[in-house]
C-alpha cells in the first residue's frame, strides 16, 4: 500500500488539532461537576441559601462549558471513518462495546439528570436535585472511563486476537480490555487532572473577585471548597501519574526513554527534573544528550521499577538491542513483523485456492510472529523512535506545572484558613494566572501520551502510516483549516460568554431563573 507521506502528516495534524481542542472543554466538565456537587451537598446539609447561590453560579459556568464543548469529540469519529478507515476497521470489534456504552450512558445521563440539575431547582425535592447533580458528576466521569479504556487498549492491546479472515482484532476477553492496567491508570490520572483544572478554574475566578474587592464572601467560600478539593486531587494525581509512568516503563519503554531523553540505558538511571536537550544529538552517536540538566540520581529507576538499581533501557538499546539485558533490536522485530505480513499474504492466497492445510500453516506462522506485526511495515529501525524533544518537553512541562499546582493549593488553602488571603495579592495574581497553565498541563499530558507512542496507532501492531486511508490529501487539508476556524470560533464564544457571566458575578443571578 503506497500512501502519500503528506496525507499521513495532514491526517495526523487534523486528528491532533481536533483532539487538543476537544480536550480544552472536557476536563473542566469532569472536575467542575464534582465541585458543584460538593457545594450543593453543603447547601443541602446546612440549608444556607448562600451555598445555593454559590452552587448555581458555578453550575452556570459549567453549562456554558458543556454546551460549547458538546459534540466536539464526534468529529474524531468522523475522522475515523474517513481518514483512518483501515484503523477503524481493525479496531472496530474492540472499540464497539466501550464506545457504545459511552454513547448510551452519555445520552441517558445528559438528557435526564443534566436536565433535572439545570431545570429542577424548584421542581424536585432538594435531595432529588442533589442526587441528580452527583449522578451527572459520576456519569460524565464514567463516560470518560470508556473512552480511556479504548485509548488504553491502543497503548497496550490486550484481550483480543487478530482474525485474518475478517482482518479485525476480535475481543476474546472483555474484562481484560476493561481492567487493562494501562487503561485504568490512564483513566485515574486523566480524570484527576480534570479535577485539578476545575479547582484552578474556581480558585482563579474567585481570586479575580478578591483582587477586584467584590463578592468577597462568595469568593472565599468557593476558594475554600476548590483549594481543599484541589489539594486532595492534585496529590492523588501525583500518585496516579507515578502508576501511569510505571505502566509506560513496562509496556512502552521507548516512550519512557523519550520522556526522559534517555539515550543510553543504565542501572540506577537518574531522573531529569530540568533539562535542555542537545538538538544535534542522534541515536547511537557519542554526543551528550543534554546541554544543561538538573537530575536526581537513581530517580528514574526508583520511580519506574521501585528499585534504585533497576536497569532502564535507553533509546539506543531499544533500537539496536541488548543481549545483556535481553532486549531484541528493532531490526529483529522488523524481521518477525515481515514474517507476520508474509504469513498473512500466504493465508490469503491459500484461502483463495481453498487449500485448508496451507491456510492452517500460514495461520500458525502468523500467530507465532503477530506480536511484531506492526514492525513489518517499518522501513528503518529509527522509525520506531518518537520525537524526543516534543515528548521530553511536554512531559516535563506537565510534571513541572503539576508540582506548582500542589504548592499553589497548599498556600491558597493555608491563607484561606487563616483568613489572610486578601492580603497576599501576589498569590492571588499567581492563582489567576495559573488557570491557563492548567490547560497547558492538560494538553502537555496528552501530547506526552500520544506523541510518545509514535509511530504506533496501535502499539507494536499498526503504525500510523498503515492506519491511514488512501484518499486524496486536499480534502484533509481543507477540513483541517475548517476545524481550526470552527474550534477557534467556539473557543472565542466560550471565553466571551464566560467572561460576561463572570463579570456579572453571582449576585446578579436571580433566584427564580434557570441558567
Amino acid at each position: 500500500m503506497h500512501i502519500d507521506p503528506s496525507l499521513v502528516e495532514w491526517s495526523r495534524a487534523q486528528f491532533a488539532l481536533t483532539a487538543l481542542y476537544h480536550w480544552l472543554f472536557v476536563p473542566l466538565t469532569l472536575g467542575l461537576t464534582f465541585i458543584v456537587a460538593i457545594m450543593e451537598t453543603i447547601y443541602v446539609k446546612t440549608g444556607n441559601e448562600w451555598w445555593k447561590k454559590t452552587t448555581r453560579f458555578w453550575m452556570g459556568l459549567l453549562a456554558i462549558n458543556f454546551a460549547i464543548g458538546l459534540a466536539t469529540g464526534i468529529i474524531m469519529e468522523f475522522e475515523f471513518g474517513t481518514n483512518w478507515s483501515n484503523y477503524s476497521w481493525i479496531v472496530g470489534d474492540i472499540f464497539g462495546a466501550p464506545l457504545a456504552i459511552e454513547g448510551l450512558m452519555a445520552f441517558f445521563m445528559e438528557s435526564t439528570f443534566f436536565a433535572v440539575m439545570f431545570f429542577g431547582w424548584d421542581k424536585v425535592s432538594k435531595r432529588m436535585h442533589l442526587l441528580s447533580t452527583w449522578l451527572v458528576a459520576i456519569g460524565s466521569n464514567l463516560s470518560a472511563l470508556w473512552i480511556l479504556v479504548a485509548n488504553g487498549w491502543m497503548q497496550h492491546p490486550v484481550g483480543m486476537r487478530f482474525n485474518p479472515d475478517t482482518a479485525r482484532n476480535e475481543m476474546v476477553d472483555f474484562w481484560a480490555v476493561l481492567f487493562n492496567p494501562n487503561a485504568y491508570s490512564k483513566f485515574l490520572h486523566t480524570i484527576s487532572g480534570g479535577y485539578v483544572l476545575a479547582s484552578l478554574f474556581v480558585i482563579s475566578i474567585s481570586a479575580w473577585y478578591l483582587l477586584r474587592k467584590r463578592n468577597i464572601q462568595f469568593a472565599k467560600r468557593s476558594i475554600m471548597v476548590a483549594a481543599s478539593f484541589g489539594l486532595i486531587v492534585s496529590l492523588f494525581n501525583v500518585t496516579t501519574g507515578d502508576d501511569s509512568a510505571r505502566h509506560v516503563a513496562q509496556d512502552q519503554p521507548m516512550k519512557l526513554a523519550a520522556m526522559e531523553g534517555l539515550y543510553q540505558g543504565k542501572s540506577g538511571a537518574e531522573i531529569v527534573t530540568f533539562g535542555i536537550l542537545n538538538p544535534s544529538k542522534k541515536v547511537g552517536d557519542k554526543q551528550e544528550p543534554f546541554l544543561v540538566k538538573v537530575a536526581i540520581p537513581d530517580g528514574l529507576s526508583l520511580l519506574s521499577y521501585h528499585r534504585v538499581d533497576a536497569y532502564v533501557p535507553g533509546i539506543r538499546e531499544l533500537v539496536y538491542g541488548s543481549k545483556e539485558h535481553g532486549i531484541p533490536s528493532v531490526a529483529e522485530k522488523m524481521k518477525r513483523g515481515k514474517e507476520a505480513v508474509a504469513a498473512l499474504t500466504a493465508y490469503k492466497a491459500a484461502k483463495k485456492a481453498g487449500d485448508t492445510a496451507k491456510m492452517e500453516a500460514a495461520k500458525k506462522r502468523f500467530e507465532a510472529n503477530s506480536t511484531y506485526l506492526g514492525y513489518g511495515y517499518l522501513k528503518t529501525p529509527l522509525q520506531a523512535v518518537p520525537s524526543v524533544p516534543i515528548t521530553f518537553y511536554a512531559f516535563h512541562t506537565m510534571v513541572g506545572l503539576g508540582t506548582w499546582f500542589v504548592l499553589l493549593f497548599i498556600v491558597i488553602l493555608y491563607f484561606t484558613m487563616t483568613n489572610t488571603l486578601e492580603r497576599h495579592r501576589k498569590w492571588l495574581w499567581a492563582a489567576l494566572f495559573s488557570l491557563p497553565l492548567g490547560y497547558v498541563a492538560q494538553e502537555s499530558g496528552w501530547i506526552t501520551a500520544e506523541v510518545g507512542r509514535q509511530p504506533w496507532a496501535i502499539q507494536d501492531m499498526l503504525p500510523v502510516g498503515m492506519a491511514t486511508s488512501n484518499i486524496v490529501t486536499s480534502p484533509v487539508m481543507i477540513t483541517f483549516w475548517l476545524f481550526a476556524i470552527l474550534f477557534t470560533a467556539l473557543l472565542i464564544a466560550e471565553v466571551k460568554i464566560m467572561t460576561t457571566q463572570i463579570k456579572l458575578g453571582p449576585v446578579e443571578l436571580k433566584e427564580d431563573s434557570h441558567v
Binding site: I75, S85, A167, T479, L482
Partner: protein, 73 residues
Amino acid sequence: MSFAWPRRVWEFYRDGFRSMRLGKKLWLLVAIKLFVLFVVIKWLFFPDLLKTRFHNDRERGAFVLDQLTHTKE
C-alpha cells in the same frame, strides 16, 4: 391509559427551556454547531469510506487485508 406522567415530563422540559436566560443563547450556539458538524462537514467531507465503497463486511475485511498485505486492489 393515563398521560399524567408523560405530560409532567413534557411540562418540566418546556418550563425549563422557557425560563432560561443565558441558556437560549447557548442552545442557539449548540444548534448552529450541530448543523455545521453534521450537515455541512460530515455530509461534504467525511463519508464512511468502507461503508460507502463496499456492500458487506466480507468485502470490507478483504479490502483491509489487501492493504495490510501490500496487495493492490
